[in-house]
Amino acid sequence: MDYSTLLQILDSTLRLATPLLLASLSGLFSERSGIFDIGLEGKMLAAAMASGAVAFLSGSVWLGLLAGIGASLVFAAIHGVASITFRGNQLISGVALNFLAAGMTVLVAQRLFSQGGRTPPISGEARFNPVTLPFAEALRDVPILGPLYYEVISGHSLLVYAAIALVPLSWWVLNRTRFGLRLRAVGENPAAVDTAGVSVVGLRFAAVAITGVLCGLAGAYMATALQAGFGKDMTAGRGYIALAALIFAKWRPVAVLWACLLFGFFQALALRPDVVEAVIQVKVPVPFLDALPYLLTVLVLAGFVGKAIPPRAGGEPYVKER
């Protein structure tokens, strides 16, 4: 494999890792507060449809982004009401919302555009277009690092850089702010937080809302940056891969970045089976590459690659004064 092929693969790694990263970070907030969320997939899908549709209708990607966040927040709110207010089963609520999103997105897109549940292709101002970072052109001819900077690091949409910036930000919020400390505490021992006079319900709703916003970004990225418009079931299980990445990373923000880059790398490889074959001299079936993130997550869960311990109060509704 030559250098330029490697750069191409790393470039698509970054592009494909971004929705995983955004969704994974979004799940991080919810799960650290004790609310399991297997509805990342549905929220992404809803956001992708809303942002694709609004970006097409208004011609502005920013309005599309807002609409995506809005749609994702609606689903997050339902999840919050079901699992926090009514203390329902968080897993079942997530499953329900995934189905609801899978159906509703097609229904709405079909109603608006009558194109078989797609939104029309968008372009120009209605999309997040590649940003060329400063000096990318000028440094292009510097050996090795120049092409790396030009091909891999520069030339992505704004949301890619935003997603990466969100990693240290999430770390800082969770580990260095009062809100973050409380959020983590409420996921480990809600009774203690309650005793300290801090609202468990309020904190958990805040966490679920953050999840909604970040998942909205992930979905909007799918429809307005990675692809040009929404298509039926376009997230194709990315919400679950993001969940897998979150577990793989043991619910820690910086590790989430590496996990998502790794899973994005697998997805990039699955697009180039010829390269894989050339490098390891064995024909690897594409489905095997597709399944790798899931296989790795199972291994992590089984404790063969370190132990993944979820937040202690995760999945359990909090009942005051039991």
């Binding site: 297997i38 339902i78 079901a82 699992s83 009514f86 203390r87 329902g88 089963n89 968080q90 897993l91 079942i92 609520s93 499953v95 329900a96 919302l97 995934n98 189905f99 609801l100 999103a101 899978a102 159906g103 509703m104 097609v106 229904l107 709405v108 079909q110 109603r111 549940g117 039926k232 299980g237 679950y240 969940l243 897998a244 577990i247 079936p285 489905p287 095997f288 597709d290 399944a291 899931y294 296989l295 997550t297 199972v298 869960l301 089984a302 404790g303 979820p310």
Partner: protein, 366 residues
């Protein structure tokens, strides 16, 4: 008193949940500019209005009974098996391998062997997550989700690179031999007086109903069933009573996976007569809705499976005769899971309050 009478708990809670889901579904239809009344009429007409429609409705019902029972038995052990979809697909692989293995002399032999194949493959696919849960504490919900995707990838690989006959374009196994052809309802004497046109519903329906009885008997009439239910209600109490948690997790998940796998005799052997990609078409997930709607009781599961059979066939008719997309049935499925599963407490609160009001009025009148 803020408890519901037993009849209300058994019948009224699911009914109210269903009505709420129905109201939201109607609102969804209105919001996309369709008439809910007209949609319902098309669904009833297409799914229940003729023997032909019933033939499809019962075909879906058969699959959903299996997957609903699968989720039910795991639920009773306190385990949420989201992996029915993957287990059903592996079950399909078991069916295909058995059906293709020899030239079956009679369908009864083929059916028996295929049922065992389906159950074993499904059970193994549920058994790995069960083992990881029991021995290594990996969360079964996450592992079964992962196993759904691994199953899908495995089947794509097998269908494209291994099972596909040379020269065939679409990724599918060869056709099953004639001897492995199951009689459809229109092939069975007496019943064919009702079903005169060829329908996909087949003898598997009776196996599904028999399994509902078997699951009921296991859960409520055997020591094992008692242990499963005790474990599901309280793990520490069950442990204290000498129930082996590893054994219960393993057995209940193996049964669950076996049932989900058996679904494939209905669609793979009874209908498609070859193994296709994504053979289970989401029926594994519908099992969740069916189990929740059926309150985790085999009778409820059979009724809920019939309801979902109606929804599925009716939904397909909507796709054919109206401009409502077929995805409407996924919306309804999501709503039913939401109201019967996640918002269960809300429905109960509403009903308890309503009953409380009734009681206080009676007291006031007296």
């Amino acid at each position: 008193m803020d408890r519901l009478p037993r009849w209300a708990d058994v019948a009224l809670v699911p009914l109210v949940s269903l009505i709420l889901a129905g109201i939201i579904a109607a609102l969804v239809l209105l919001s996309i500019g369709q008439s809910p009344v007209e949609a319902f009429r098309v669904m009833v007409d297409g799914a229940l209005g003729s023997a032909y429609g019933w033939g499809y409705t019962l075909y879906y019902t058969t699959s959903f009974i299996f997957t609903g029972l699968a989720v039910t038995i795991a639920f009773h052990a306190g385990l949420f098996n989201i992996g029915g979809e993957g287990q059903a697909q592996l079950g399909g692989l078991g069916v295909a391998l058995v059906a293709l293995s020899l030239d079956w002399p009679h369908w009864t032999l083929a059916l028996t062997a295929a049922t065992v194949g389906a159950a074993v493959f499904g059970a193994v696919w549920a058994g790995i997550p069960a083992y990881l849960q029991a021995k290594r504490g990996s969360h079964i919900v996450i592992t079964t989700i992962m196993f759904n995707y691994i199953a899908a990838a495995l089947l794509v690989y097998l269908l494209v690179d291994v099972l596909r006959p040379a020269g065939q374009m679409d990724p599918a196994s060869p056709r099953f031999p004639e001897g492995a052809k199951l009689p459809a309802l229109n092939d069975i004497p007496v019943i064919n007086l009702i079903f005169q046109k060829a329908v996909p519903a087949n003898v598997t329906l009776f196996i599904a109903l028999a399994m509902a009885v078997v699951v009921w008997a296991i859960l409520w009439r055997t020591r094992l069933g008692y242990q499963i239910r005790a474990f599901g209600k309280s793990e520490p109490a069950a442990r204290y009573a000498g129930i082996n948690p590893v054994f219960i997790i393993m057995v209940s998940m193996l049964l669950s996976g076996g049932l989900a796998g058996m679904m494939s005799i209905n669609n793979v052997m009874g209908e498609a007569e070859r193994l296709l990609q994504n053979s289970s078409e989401g029926a594994g997930f519908i099992g969740i809705a069916v189990a929740l709607m059926g309150r985790n009781h085999p009778i409820g599961v059979v009724l809920a499976a019939l309801l979902f059979g109606f929804l599925y066939q009716g939904g397909a008719e909507l796709g054919l005769w109206t401009s409502i997309p077929i995805e409407m049935r996924i919306v309804v499925q999501g709503l039913v899971i939401l109201f019967t599963g996640a918002l269960d407490v809300m429905v109960r609160m509403l009903l308890t309050r309503a009953f409380g009001l009734l009681r206080s009025q009676k007291l006031g009148a007296a």
